[in-house]
């Protein structure tokens, strides 16, 4: 019963957080000095199109409608929330008219999701493995080197690491492509190989940083746990190192990581945006950038609202897995 209560509280706070985030996204453009409609009109006329006053007014009216800027602030707000929550419709993209924004996002989302999920998982498995070993045998040279490496790599932002990797492996020693370009029929072997090939450097930059953090935190956890009574007892019982590490220490070392991951997911998403832009990787971050460069207001509002929903959802899912992994909370 208590567990159900916890889940309900978490769900309510999830809804409130998203409402808060979307409200911020709604009000930011309304308090900015530049009117998106006027900016768009200026862009159209700067590209050499001549319009008389009546035409300009007609365009202004239709843009105001397309951007959802018609009516009082309250109706606009209501329509904005309704569009996102109920229909997921952000109107047509203006740069790629008349493709709907939702379709562009649907194309980009699997790329970002795949990149973040696979690199976080790889980094997590490697980081736990190395961190456990380094914490179990803290005085070996290999453990010290690994920890030193982790401390050097962890504070570097992904995109700086991405830049360094691309300088090293795309310019100085060109073995990886500079920008992502995928080819081959969907889901054929050639397609999958080309996806992996093109995602390698962006993924590696994320893997290295996240790996660095897991090594640092798992090692600290393991050295602490290794001195606990139950570990000493299991050693006296004659259990091997492998069993003690995986069955006795690992489950205890994993728990604090989940809290950390929930706090970090927003920052990881921030980093992925810039990495995608630098590598022209066709994900959500690159779509946000396209929207800014092209002045595509609908696409911008759509991608940014979705980023907030995605990060809040990911955080909630991670939070909800916590009771599944910690029997003490379930038993209460």
């Amino acid at each position: 019963m208590r567990l159900l209560g916890q889940i309900a509280t978490r769900l309510i706070s999830y809804v409130l957080v998203i409402a808060f985030g979307l409200t911020v996204v709604f009000f930011v453009p309304r308090f900015a000095p530049n009117d998106p409609v006027e900016a768009m009109l200026a862009q159209v006329s700067s590209q050499g199109a001549y319009m008389d006053a009546a035409q300009a007014d007609a365009l202004r009216a239709s843009l105001t409608d397309a951007f959802g800027l018609k009516g009082s602030m309250l109706t606009q707000y209501w329509n904005f929330i309704k569009r996102i929550v109920l229909t997921g419709d952000f109107g047509p993209s203006l740069a790629m008219y008349p493709t709907p924004v939702s379709q562009l996002i649907a194309q980009a989302l699997p790329w970002t999701f795949g990149l973040l999920l696979s690199s976080t998982l790889i980094a997590w498995v490697l980081g736990n493995f190395v961190g456990l070993w380094a914490g179990w045998r803290p005085n070996r040279a290999s453990s010290r080197i690994m920890e030193g490496l982790a401390i050097i790599v962890y504070p570097i932002p992904y995109y700086i690491l991405a830049l360094v990797l691309s300088i090293l492996f795309s310019y100085i020693w060109p073995i990886f492509p500079l920008t992502a370009s995928v080819h081959g029929a969907p889901w054929s072997f050639a397609f999958i190989r080309s996806v992996i090939w093109n995602s390698f450097l962006p993924a590696l930059s994320i893997v290295l940083v996240v790996f660095g953090w897991w090594v640092i935190s798992v090692k600290a956890q393991t050295t602490q746990l290794a001195e606990e009574e139950f570990v000493r007892y299991s050693r006296l019982k004659g259990l091997g190192d492998g069993r003690i590490l995986t069955r006795y220490i690992l489950p205890n070392a994993i728990l604090p990581q989940i809290t950390f991951l929930a706090l970090q997911i927003g920052l990881m998403f921030n980093g992925a945006i810039v990495t995608e832009i630098l590598f022209e990787y066709p994900g959500l971050g690159h779509l946000i950038y396209t929207a800014v460069i092209q002045g595509d207001y609908n696409l911008l509002m759509g991608t940014i609202s979705l980023s907030i929903v995605a990060v809040a959802t990911a955080t909630m899912i991670i939070d909800l897995t916590y009771p599944l992994l910690d029997p003490r909370i379930r038993a209460r």
Partner: protein, 280 residues
Amino acid sequence: MRAFKLPKIGSFRLGLGLALLAIFVILGLILPWFAPTNPLTWYKAPRNQGASFAHLLGTTNLGQDIFWLLTWALHNSLILGLTVAFFSTLIGVFAGLAAGYSGGWIDRILSFFMDALLCIPSLPILILLAALFGGQLSLPLVGVALVLFNWPYPARQVRAVALTMREREFINVAWFSGEPRYKILGRHIFPYIAGWSAANFINTVLVGIATETSLAVIGLSSAQQATIGTMIYWALKYQALLAQRYLWVGAPVLAIVLMFISLFLISSGLAIRSAARRIG
């Protein structure tokens, strides 16, 4: 045994980090005043020079001296990071103390804002702001936005410490012997929070500089001002990589990497120290 070993590791990290940071403070806060000319001005130096005695790190495609440009970039980035960290920590400590010490509705409302702001990715909102301000955000505006997104980290930690402190015996003693509330907060609770706040402060400097840099690398920060990010932006924009002018990109990249390592060493050193103090 462990309580003895921990501060030693902490002090080592702290020392190494501080020594590294000292180099950046000299480079960024003192040397810019000795720059021969405004390093942002174009064609003050011959273009595309390699490293030489006259131009320590060579010159850019636009005839700017990379060494002096770097000192200015470090100057602006450091000032931004320090200002953001100062205000975030100030707001965070006050909000955290208020939430943790008073409890009830104040705690619930403040905690909601902390959690909500932690869940919202800051970069998309900054990009939205930049797009609406015509593609460029001035540094003060970036700073204000960063403070809004970064105060919850110290606030949560301070709240957690304040919550446990409220139940401690000596706080009750102080309360019953008639000490006013501000004195209890200032004299008895603050010393416990100071160590964590220092670690958080340094960490916020790092996050602040990192976020401005990410905004600048994609060309959405103030491109007219020299920061580490805008330096990288212009180098990439003028194809410094294709032309193999690695010094132009390499100098700011190496500077930011070393600076972040030093800041991380300091903040984790401080955190280890205050953790050890709490045990002992």
